[in-house]
Symmetry: C2
Subunit: 159 residues, 2 copies
């Protein structure tokens, strides 16, 4: 009777854990898509997709960097970045050049248009803030928690 009770409780816990509503990963997954959909109309005006916008954000902070550096900052590999960067180059926002020091390395630099786009992009975060209906403080606090979770997950992967 006691062991029976324990079994029932165990099964219930496992069952609960499998519920969609209880899964933080689904919360994160579906929120990422929701962000993407909110960004879409804003980024359409800049001629960027969301991943392209992330690359531009990274380059506005520091440019003339190898593809690998970008990948480490954005947690993306060359299989994703190479075609994306070719599209940004076709849009004349960046230039891709082989390093003379090390011919394996492709350096990514902003063009004048790439730099200029930054001014238009400044309006974007404001719109997102409004859509989120949160204070800056709340968002920053949540961001820190989520980043901490991400870093713990990535730490497990690195083992």
């Amino acid at each position: 009777m006691d062991s029976m009770t324990i079994m029932v409780r165990k099964q219930t816990a496992a069952d609960q854990a499998l519920r969609l509503d209880n899964q933080i990963c689904f919360a994160v997954y579906s929120t990422a898509h929701a962000f993407n959909r909110v960004y879409k109309p804003l980024l359409d005006r800049l001629g960027l997709t969301y991943p392209q916008y992330l690359v531009m954000l990274a380059l506005w902070e520091r440019d003339d960097v190898p593809v690998k550096d970008l990948g480490e900052r954005l947690f993306l590999d060359s299989g994703t970045l190479t075609p994306l960067l070719k599209r940004l180059e076709a849009a004349e926002l960046i230039k891709r050049t082989r390093s003379t020091q090390d011919e394996r390395v492709v350096l990514i630099a902003l063009t004048q248009q790439g730099h200029a786009l930054r001014e238009k992009a400044k309006a974007v975060p404001q719109s997102i803030l409004a859509a989120s209906d949160c204070t800056v403080g709340e968002l920053l606090a949540m961001k820190d928690e989520i980043v901490a979770l991400r870093d713990r997950l990535n730490a497990v992967l690195g083992e």
Copy 2:
């Protein structure tokens, strides 16, 4: 001089908002990918991708449902679900049948194998919990915050 100061402050705020590290959306985006990578080896054993796993989670809760219902629960459209469901059908985890009441509707039902897979899946959430290095309470609290953010973003989209 005063207006100068204000302008400088304004620019600084906009610049800060464009910084990658300050963007909650990037935190969510990169955490979703981190989850995906942690799930991968676990789901490989079940023969599922992460989005397929989400569909199975939804179906284990309630099956014999139209594609549209699944889409609403997972925030996905038929362009994503139709090919994914065809792959699950090819794997003999689900069956797709036209409703006799309304021939437009395709009903998704689990096969015996689909139901059976649930037992193997019960080990998954435990492994994720371990990888996250958080307590259940912490994760559930974060989940609620993230879901609240997602729902506010989706509310803006619905306008």
